[in-house]
Subunit: 586 residues, 2 copies
């Protein structure tokens, strides 16, 4: 599949030097991901396409419209992100692009299933619209699992075959995004079967997501359609999936990830089917560490040859999605390129070119700066399930203590762990001295239904106040972790007012608030502001919990019932492996 | 692009062991070309697709319809030939398939441009029709250059955009075959431009052929469309083409080829874009050495890791042509597989499976044996240019000697080399003692036109008689090499009688004759008979020339004006680099 149409006559004349090229990059150290070499070369571009690579001091016949002197620095293809959710950056597509481009990422394949869960097809179409102003090329895979597990949580939308078919009509939609309901696939359940059939009808790509699946069930999942994966927890799992023909989209965020992936990805001689992805990457991480370059840099730090790491982040990514004319620097390839001064990839790129357009110069995006972005996705927080702090308390008659389930324990041993709580003033209470060791966790419906869950969570660390977010994967009901029920109620009310966000309330006061008015998931502001506010929330919670760095993900992914854990949804607490509700209070 | 449509519901049930599979291969040493490993495994197949790979002693739940015990032997994907001309095997597609399948080749991508040159589109359609009875899956790339160089030779047909467009309608036609007129491409000449545009219209594959091309002309050729190549003469050329993004279809026939390709193909870390092809492979070579396995075995002999050689001959080949579900042994892949007892690949496969059908058992094709094949491509030799032996002589007045051009000399130095010949009885003669050191070479029109060429050839070795063939790339006029003009005339007459072939006539007698009645290019007989007759011709000529093994190619490729040499066509002798006729007699 070719990414762009080519006027061959023009390209031929440009390659021959009979007409001026649009761009020449002179004096580069070319990272050739086709052969695995680095050597001196110059590159000419016309109409967005690389038309000529000059070696051995060859000169252009006619000066190009623009010439960039790479001064011996490295010229690499632009990075290709095979799987990511832009919503996780807390930025809208336009502003995400204007930030990520500075890190050398030129193409992302996104799964807009966060906004899809909140707003359905119109939400996805908003992402497409906003993406048009992004310097990073954005493709979409149609969300496959909205909600992630039907019947045990409320979403703002449901995707069946009709919704997927509707999205498949758009040129920017390449296929089907991470098919998380792997049980639905390998049991050939009708919903997933029909959704996959829509992708098959148009020859669409089918992306997988099958954590810890193996044996005949994994084989059945693969023949059921999905044939790539990014959700793997051990090097054995990575190797097993490679052996069975799954393309690997390695989500490498940490040194530990890098070690695991290197172990699992490089056993045997061949890594053709290994690409990279960012999946979920918050604004402050984009600001501080970047995009696909994070994975590339961690792999290099952990010992991988830089050219191989770059290949995984470029050529292999493009091939993963079926593109044959992007991801390398050679004639006929789309001119997505970056100039970097070293092979660590921990810094921003110096120059970035997308289809031959210079979009980053001296590390700075050259287009219209990110500002307050257009959106049509506001007013999505419709909470009716809590009317006071008492709605975040479990009633108790008299002085009878009762046992309450601890959500984050017991599932590995397949048993419910409960803590006995004393009753006081008609409600069960966490004793003052145990606050932080125990907190309340709650998910509150935000789609106008009177549903919520409430249970205990161990070792979150909050000794006072309440944290709430209008992000709670994947349905994005309100997710709360709190010591104080009244603060929790205030947090909900504040989020209602501002259309969503992430908030920390203490003693009735708003201590930190990141507003996310776009579907309650994203800010309409540029990276710097969003990252600063995100950092503030993170630092506040870190301080309250007495930990070095609070991970936002440790809260907002808790409500995801596709995993094999106990999980809070607005219906109650879900037994992940069995996908059914459990009894919280004994 | 997927090779076969899949009923996912059935495949899922088969993978889970809920229904019986069609085939299980137990106890194999699986060659995994995805990871580069060999390990014990068993494989289950349903509806032509691999649904499950069992490891660690996993057993099937329900016995499969057929079970094959691999007894620990190697299980590899079937070989994939990225570029070949079936006509060169001298067999029709049906009989070629029944022979090549025993060597583990399961898919070939053919360029039927030999029969295309003789018969036009109907010839190509005959190949498609005959291929339907072949156990080897046969795809076609539409011939792009018929004739190879217009205006300096006569073919039986001419292909323009209309003919290519007509062929693109067929499902079995993947795109455009080797675009040999590389000058036409990089000068954007209208004929090639329009032909390539037809492939672009349907998103077709565009195969290249650009010997010794480099620099900006090669870049222009690539952006002009073709992006793979199999015509390379040095390891530097191979490396340069890899660097510039060309897929390599390595035609490895000899130890020397293998050394050159290993040198050129394995510089740098990556060989993703290197596949294998056979191009031209005669019947007796198929009988004695096989098909794609020849390249695999030579690469292994020359030191390449066997798993890498197998990957190039399978997975990389399939990817070269854009197929994503063939070329490896993993769930979801088409069940094209072979069982071999060692990793040399010099012998036939023990078992071969095409889409799960067992087509070779104990080294023997299991289907209806090859016999006299159907064809509708006879009666194509219409020679009117020679009416006696004197038509193969150059007239000379009196006793005046004259200088006659030696075809196979001088082109590297860009000068015509001529030999002075004495006149005798009104004609120039090669002196008796110089026969063999000098022979006559001639190309005679076979398409009803009164055109022919006649010149000298040095060191062919024929001391007497005449050799003639109705194969002469690519237009397939009659090609002759002779010591005796009267024998040459008889050879032509005999070929007219039998509809074409390869013949040696001595002292007025037919010494050896391989009949090729199908378009004058192929026999309708099975491999064994054709190979025996081919061997007889080869041995006869070898003996006459006093050499160890005469190479048929050394005669029948001489009339190919796409190369940069002096070349005999029915118009005269062509100056390859300038593509114009030269003066033969001074």
């Amino acid at each position: 599949m070719e990414l762009i149409k080519k006027n061959r006559s023009v390209l031929i004349q440009a390659a021959l030097g009979n007409i001026a090229c649009d761009l020449s990059i002179e004096n580069a150290s070319l990272i050739n991901v086709l052969t695995g070499e680095i050597y001196p070369a110059s590159v000419d571009v016309k109409d967005g396409v690389i038309v000529r690579v000059r070696m051995d001091g060859e000169k252009v016949e006619i000066p190009s419209v623009k010439t960039v002197d790479a001064a011996g620095k490295y010229l690499a293809p632009g990075f290709f992100d095979t799987h990511m959710h832009i919503e996780s950056s807390l930025l809208v597509p336009e502003n995400f692009g204007k930030a990520a481009i500075e890190w050398g990422t030129t193409t992302v394949v996104t799964d807009p299933h966060e906004i899809g869960n909140v707003m359905g097809v119109p939400g996805v179409l908003y992402m497409l619209e906003s993406a048009k102003k992004s310097p990073v090329r954005q493709f979409i895979l149609a969300p496959s699992c909205i909600p992630s597990v039907p019947g045990i949580e409320s979403a703002g939308a449901e995707f069946g075959a009709a919704e997927v078919a509707e999205l498949m009509k758009y040129d920017e939609v390449l296929g089907l995004a991470e098919v998380m309901d792997y049980i639905g696939v390998y049991t050939d359940e009708k919903r997933m079967h029909d959704i996959i059939a829509e992708a098959d009808k148009v020859g669409g790509f089918i992306q997988g997501h099958a954590p810890e699946l193996k044996g005949k069930e994994l084989c059945a999942y693969i023949v059921g359609g999905p044939h790539t994966d990014h959700e793997m927890y051990t090097s054995e799992e990575i190797l097993n999936k490679r052996r069975l023909g799954m393309g690997i989209n390695a989500r490498v965020q940490t040194e530990k990830d890098a070690r695991m992936f290197i172990d699992g990805m490089t056993q045997g001689m061949f890594t053709d089917t290994v690409a990279l992805c960012t999946d979920d990457n918050f604004a402050h991480k984009v600001r501080d560490r970047g995009s696909v370059n994070i994975a590339v840099s961690e792999l290099i730090k952990a010992g991988m040859d830089p050219i191989l790491a770059v290949k995984m982040g470029t050529f292999n990514g493009a091939r993963d999605q079926g593109f044959t004319d992007v991801g390398a620097i050679a004639p006929g390839y789309v001119a997505d390129m970056q100039i970097v001064s070293d092979l660590t990839f921990v810094n921003k790129a110096e120059y970035v070119f997308v289809a031959g357009e210079m979009v980053v110069e001296n590390g700075k995006y050259t287009g219209e700066p990110a500002g307050k972005a257009w959106h049509n996705a506001g007013d999505t927080i419709n909470c009716i399930a809590v009317k006071s702090g008492d709605d975040f308390r479990i009633p108790a008659e008299g002085h009878a203590s009762r046992k309450v389930m601890v959500v984050n324990e017991g599932y590995r041993e397949d048993k419910l762990i409960r803590e006995e709580l004393p009753a006081e003033g008609g409600f069960l209470r966490i004793p003052e001295e145990r606050l932080g060791e125990l907190n309340w966790i709650s998910v509150v419906n935000r789609y106008g239904k009177d549903t919520k869950s409430l249970a205990l969570y161990r070792n979150f660390g909050l000794k006072r106040g309440a944290m709430a977010a209008s992000i709670g994967h994947d349905c994005h009901n309100l997710t709360l972790m709190f010591a104080d029920a009244d603060d929790a109620y205030i947090a909900v009310e504040e989020l209602k007012k501002c259309g969503g966000g992430i908030i920390y309330v203490r003693d009735g006061e708003v201590v930190s608030l990141l507003k996310l008015p776009v579907a309650g998931l994203m800010s309409d502001l540029p990276l710097e502001e969003v990252a600063a506010e995100t950092s503030h929330v993170v630092e506040t919670i870190s301080k309250e919990c007495g930990i070095e760095e609070f991970s936002l993900g440790s809260l907002i992914f808790l409500p995801l019932p596709v995993f094999n854990w106990y999980c809070p949804t607005d219906f109650g607490i879900v037994d992940g492996p069995r996908k059914k509700l459990v009894q919280v209070v004994e």
